[in-house]
């Protein structure tokens, strides 16, 4: 027990999805976090200390939203196991349960289960304003008496209102620890019993603000119970505005039309809105690069810094506006409450392919990054559907592929933003269609590939529509963008360093021993071409030249493709490095890389390396190939073995090679070079 006493005390927040739990966490921890509408979106629990002004010496943990203590999905199992005994933080000294009073009876189920397990519990009643609109109120004193624990009303968004709760947490932390006993098996009957109790309790603690108070308390009580239990009583009706909006957004015909329009709008905005911002970023990076080059003069470290690192980071930074827009729109959809509706609308079509409406959010997140998307798939209870969703997520064109498509499209259609945007949308749609075809095929042969006996189900709460809190969405987008840069940045720097070394050695010094005039740019160019052809990178690349040749590509693209296994966006920076982007007048980085690509010849043949055919082929390659080590690692972890990731690598990368080959040679056959 000595460990227990030394350990910092732990306060855990528990609550159903959309009960204000995460908002409460944000307010208590003082660190802004995210409020999520989608059940289980807080997959990774957050832990933090309390905001300093509260003066509580304990850890605060936020757990994913659950509706009861009976786990159905792996997500819930982890949450519930961690609640009883967290491997690192132990069992909670105090559990704070949030209860949305506008759906009092449903949310009280979890609070009752927590109390039955013996936790020291504080029940926090939220959304009291919504209940008041229905002209009801909860008598928290009476509720506290019946439940035998502290009960408090509070608006978790308001720091001032939270003081009494803070005091309660302090008081409860000082009390003696209690004995927690985990119930191994809850049955349906148990839940029915709890609900019966709650229904009785509900009639006692609900205060009707409308009906006149009768002098006789017994008659008053009877009158109130009539109102609560009566048909169509306001307490049973969902938010009326939400119902009105749903009659349009969930309309049988218009619903799917609006859904498709929102998706289309989201992806086109990524391109239309971003392009002026991208030009701005472009100019900025270019200026910075010339500044560094001028400041450091002509030597190897200036070369490495300007061409390798800044240039490499720059080409990726250019695509940050698009990524920010993607995260922003996703955040808006999530915050407004629409995402759960999207899942409902798409459930039937997806279920025909062996997927689930809950696959929708992971698939959508896949457009940002496959890693969080694969984690988000944990909310899918059915194992087969979950694995199938994970299987197809890499086919969603993630944001790391944007820089690559961006580069290749501006090579193919220079200056034609509209056409590029259109083709880019087509690439995204094709990715989705391919993923659905793959899902359909696998589902067809599920006995051989994903053979699990599981019950497929779809039950999900549709949250009340809310006007998205722009501040929250902005902050969330910001932290996502920073995360993206933090993830991509170091990889790019490391690979730029490795590639720079590989392309510059062993002949780095050739430059200094030659007696030719150094100032002449064409001579300089020749020297550098000679150096790179004899470099380590060339040696590695030449080994794989036989593989690249059928695709009309050479070792330089091959080396860049190897580099993409660290992160796909590295492709652009490594191409930039290998083709030694030399700054020419006021052209910017990206455009001069395109010029280099236009002039690049396949060794010894005089044939252009980058043609319409090969660029189109590369796009096909990036659409299909599984070339991200992090994705492979997380898939292995989430599916508990190498079977699925290895199948993915073989199928996707094999298909990528085959279809690239067909695209390049097909286009050539029809005279497109």
């Amino acid at each position: 027990m000595s460990i227990d006493t030394e350990r910092k005390k732990l306060v855990t927040l528990v609550g159903p999805p959309n009960s204000g739990k995460t908002t409460l966490f944000n307010t208590l921890s003082g660190k802004k976090h995210k409020t999520v509408n989608y059940p289980g979106a807080t997959i990774e629990y957050s832990i933090s200390s309390f905001l300093e002004q509260f003066d509580i010496d304990a850890q605060l943990m936020d757990s994913p939203g659950i509706i009861s203590l009976i786990p159905v999905s792996p997500d819930e199992k982890v949450t519930i196991d961690n609640l009883y005994n967290h491997p690192e933080f132990g069992k909670p000294d105090v559990v704070v349960v949030t209860v949305d009073t506008s759906q009092f009876s449903r949310h009280l189920l979890l609070a009752r289960q927590i109390l039955d397990s013996g936790f020291r519990t504080i029940v926090v009643l939220t959304m009291n304003d919504l209940l008041k609109e229905k002209s009801f109120e909860i008598d928290e004193m009476m509720l506290s008496e019946i439940l035998g624990c502290d009960v408090i009303k509070c608006d978790p968004r308001d720091v001032k209102e939270i003081e009494p709760l803070v005091k309660l947490i302090k008081d409860n932390l000082e009390s003696k620890t209690v004995q927690v006993h985990k119930r191994d098996k809850h049955t349906e009957e148990d839940i029915l019993c709890i609900y019966r109790e709650i229904e009785v309790l509900e009639k006692k603690v609900l205060k009707d603000l409308n009906t006149e108070h009768h002098e006789n308390p017994l008659i008053a009580q009877a009158n109130k119970e009539l109102v609560i239990a009566g048909r169509g009583s306001s307490i049973k009706m969902p938010d009326s505005l939400t119902m009105k909006i749903d009659s349009v957004l969930l309309h049988k015909v218009w619903g799917i039309f609006i859904f498709l329009s929102i998706m289309a709008l989201m992806f086109t905005s990524i391109f239309w809105v971003a392009s002026p911002v991208m030009d701005l970023v472009d100019t900025g990076i270019h200026n910075f690069e010339s500044f560094v080059n001028m400041g450091l003069g002509d030597n190897w470290y200036s070369d490495l810094l300007a061409k390798g690192i800044i240039g490499g980071l720059g080409v990726v930074l250019v695509f940050l506006p698009q990524i920010v827009i993607l995260f922003f729109v996703l955040g808006l959809l999530e915050d407004s409450g629409y995402l759960a509706r999207g899942a409902m609308i798409i459930d039937k079509p997806l279920s025909m392919l062996g997927l689930n409406g809950r696959s929708f959010v992971p698939m959508l997140s896949g457009f940002a990054c496959a890693i969080p998307a694969i984690l988000a798939a944990r909310t899918i209870q059915n194992k087969r559907e979950r694995y199938l969703t994970i299987f197809i997520i890499p086919l969603m064109s993630c944001s790391a592929r944007l820089p690559v498509y961006g580069l290749l499209l501006s090579f193919l259609f220079p200056g034609k933003y509209f056409l590029s945007g259109l083709i880019l949308s087509l690439i995204y749609i094709t990715g989705v269609i391919i993923s659905l075809i793959v899902a359909g095929i696998i589902n067809r042969y599920k006995r051989a590939i994903l053979n699990f006996e599981d019950n497929s189900s779809f039950i999900m709460e549709l949250p009340v529509y809310r006007i998205p809190k722009l501040m929250n969405v902005f902050k969330d987008t910001y932290s996502n963008a920073v995360q993206y840069l933090q993830k991509a940045g170091p990889t790019i720097v490391i690979f730029s360093l490795i590639l720079w070394t590989l392309t510059n050695f062993p002949n780095r010094t050739v430059n200094d021993t030659t007696d030719m005039p150094k100032g002449d740019p064409s001579v300089q160019r020749l020297i550098e071409a000679e150096r790179i052809n004899n470099s380590y990178a060339a040696n590695i690349g030449k080994v794989m030249e036989p593989v690249m040749k059928p695709l009309g590509l050479d070792w330089r693209v091959g080396v860049s493709l190897i580099a993409t296994f660290a992160a796909r966006e590295v492709f652009v920076s490594s191409l930039a490095l290998i083709f030694k982007v030399t700054e020419s007048d006021d052209d910017n980085m990206s455009r001069s890389l395109i010029n280099e690509m236009k002039n690049a010849k396949i060794n010894g043949t005089g044939q252009n390396l980058f043609t319409t055919a090969t660029a189109a082929g590369l796009i096909v390659f990036f659409m299909l190939a599984l070339q991200c080590i992090s994705t492979i690692a997380i898939t292995k972890k989430e599916t508990g073995g190498w079977r699925i990731p290895v199948m993915q690598i073989i199928i996707y990368t094999g298909a990528a090679y085959l279809f690239t080959f067909l695209t390049v040679n097909g286009l050539r056959f029809f005279g497109v070079n």
């Binding site: 969902p238 049988k252 999900m460």
Partner: protein, 77 residues
């Protein structure tokens, strides 16, 4: 009669939950318990899933899962 048989806008009262149905536990957890009144609010494309108003909340549920919720219409006991 089960929830899956109801039309949009129809109100019904839960009579029984079929515990042999694999989704029954989840259904009960979401608050579908005998005696509760519910209303089918919307049906998605292909008439599936349904959105149901229950205990002050809106719940989306697949027809397949809704089949374990037996109901009766309030005026035909």
């Amino acid at each position: 009669m089960t929830v899956a048989d109801l039309h949009s806008g129809q109100t019904a009262i839960i009579k029984n939950i079929d515990f042999s149905h694999p989704s029954s536990c989840r259904v009960v957890e979401y608050g579908f318990t005998p005696g509760q009144e519910l209303q089918v609010i919307n049906k998605s494309i292909f008439n599936d899933p349904l959105s149901v108003s229950l205990r002050g909340a809106l719940i989306a549920i697949r027809k397949q899962d809704a089949r374990c919720i037996e109901v009766f219409l309030p005026n035909e006991h």
